[in-house]
Amino acid sequence: MSDVLAVDVWRGAENGQFQAFTLPRRQHQTVLDVVTEIQREHDSTLSYRFACRVGMCGSCAMVVNGRPRWTCRTRVNEVVSGDERLRLEPLRNFTVVKDLAVEMTQFFDKWKAAHGFFEPGTAPEQDFAVVPPQTKERQAADAGIECIGCGVCYSACDVVAWDRDYLGPAALNRAWTLVNDVRDRGQAERLKAVSHDNGCQACHTHMNCTNFCPKAIAPTYAIAGLKRVLFRRALRSA
């Protein structure tokens, strides 16, 4: 293993360039360790995000050697071998604020647009709902419920890159978990929200989202579920 690590870091916003750094290579370095060391020891003007450092919050997501990942959970040894350089870029498909930090607003706006929120209805139940965990709906919801909104899937998605209106895998995955929530009273509006040109039917099953999700969620199958529900509804109303 070489003792130095060559790193190219994106500086600037939409227009910018890569800046090169050289750091000591350490055996168990994570990419977050590298970014932090650069900012503290080499260039304090570097902007990046992190919070928990332990793979729980998703704040540190960025593109590492072409793949969107969590930097705190990515060992340098996983992505770089020998004298290869490490390349760090902000997440794709987001507007770059500065360097490695991106603007997340549109991501969460689409979450809302897909009705990715629980709707209790105007007359909520008086007693607790009984939802057995083994039911089909609850299992479908549980499969996608761990999403922490890190944006990796959104960054990986080709359709988002081609069509900035597309709601994206995270928003649609959340919508699917709520479609399967038997307590929710807003299903009709939610299904309508995901059925336009920018909704679930824009997904072409490239499966980048499923491949890159750090929490092993599969938005592809959630979106397929939405497609099936919409299809059945359309046939029934015909």
């Binding site: 359709v159 081609w162 069509d163 059925s195 040109d197 072409h204 497609k227 919409l230 299809f231 359309a234």
Partner: protein
Amino acid sequence: MLFVAQRTTAFILAVAVAAHLATILFAVRGGLTAAQILARTHGNVAFALFYAIFVLAVAVHAPIGLRNIVREWTAWRGRSLDFALILFSGLLLVLGLRAVVAVCS
């Protein structure tokens, strides 16, 4: 909804294309002359019906597919695109049914 039409015709075409591929492979054996093909298809109502449905399904399926591609890979979208695709659908329908008539009647 376009998505429903696209997937429904996809199912129909899955069957029709499989049948068509098998038919063509069978016909290609030993070379094909027009007379031999037309002898089998002329006045054949079953063939005519099969291919008419085939043409209809294609006239729905192809333009919707192209619509996705154009909207994603070019800046063209909106009514003018939809109109152009309806024209293309009409073209496929007219040329297709004309071919069915040519071969089956």
